[in-house]
Amino acid sequence: MTLIDAARLTQTLLALALIQQSLEHLVRFRNERLLFGGRIVLCALVVSGIASPWPLVGLAGLSLLILHRFQGPYNGGSDRMGLLALWCLTLTSLLPTPASQELAFGYLGAQLILSYFISGAVKIVNPDWRSGRALADVFQFSAYPVADSLRGWAGRPRVLLALSWAVMLFELAFPLTLLWRPALIVGLVVAGTFHLANACLFGLNRFFWTWLAVYPAILWLQGRLVH
């Protein structure tokens, strides 16, 4: 996959993810409709490829207004990854030399790897994660389970212990998938399934679409590093 193809695919997937998020804002408050209606128009221009790269520049500018409106990301980590992807893609499209473009796009791919590796590292140093207690806490009293019936999972310590270690080991091992293309593809399928489970159980649908949108960046980076 060439840099241009990978960046274009990431732009399109990210624009679609941002359209999905923006539509959710149109139904609630009038003062949010202007911001997110504008974002939908710019995303549609990105998808159609019209006036490139200016719709991306517009989206990056608009992202600052949205950050100011909510005094931070509306939905924590998922919006932060969306912002990172948007700004990296904007830089990739504006920077003058192929080397600087590769640097901006490669940074996005590298951050995706780190998003898994660091998440695993900060968990495995915590005794509560190693014992399965932390995941039990997530189910027992955190704000995330989408239904009360899911809180019952807190009473299944063996299952949660196995799940905790599966998540931590997968996240820590993820960078190794860069060594071999088929391993990376399997890793991304597993990671996508993990995000799908989080979306279903904890309502984190924005993570699912945003992380999926950035997968072409890591596929490109792997090809660039290995070949």
Binding site: E24, Q71, V146
Partner: protein, 146 residues
């Protein structure tokens, strides 16, 4: 400009420490009150989660999940209020609770709206609840929900 950079930089140089520690978890509770000093309000959890959610509904929420995402935003506001209180976070919670409450039957005897933040955590094997933030009530009619 500096405040915008402060908001943007954590996205450009992320920490990725998701769920490193399971911190006390906030719940927003609200009550309609007779007066600003009414201590007899009936406090209710804002948007309690359903008992069960069908798998098809979970999948539908992959593409349409505005209420849940708004609730997660309120969790962020609640955490900000206990870490570094701002009028913005308090206003956002009042606004979003008021928008829902106005859809309920009118209660002329209770024109004030209050909310409080209850933080749920685990101590040893017991789940405990503690009220960590409760701003002065506001008149429901005066809360802008546009």
């Amino acid at each position: 400009m500096r405040s915008l950079l402060k908001l943007l930089l954590p996205a450009l140089i992320p920490s990725w420490n998701f769920f490193d520690v399971i911190a006390p978890s906030p719940r927003v509770e609200y009550a309609r009150l007779r007066s600003i000093g009414d201590a007899q309000g009936e406090w209710r959890e804002f948007r309690p989660r359903p008992q069960r959610l069908a798998p098809l509904e979970m999948l539908r929420r992959l593409v349409w999940n505005p209420r849940w995402n708004e609730s997660l935003f309120l969790v962020s506001c609640a955490e900000r209020l206990t870490e570094e209180p701002t009028a913005h976070s308090e206003d956002e919670i009042f606004k979003r609770v008021a928008a829902d409450v106005r859809a309920e039957p009118e209660d002329a005897e209770r024109p004030w709206l209050g909310f409080r933040l209850v933080f749920v955590s685990r101590e040893a094997d017991a789940v405990t609840r503690e009220i960590l933030f409760q701003p002065a009530p506001r008149r429901l009619a005066e809360i802008a929900v546009a």
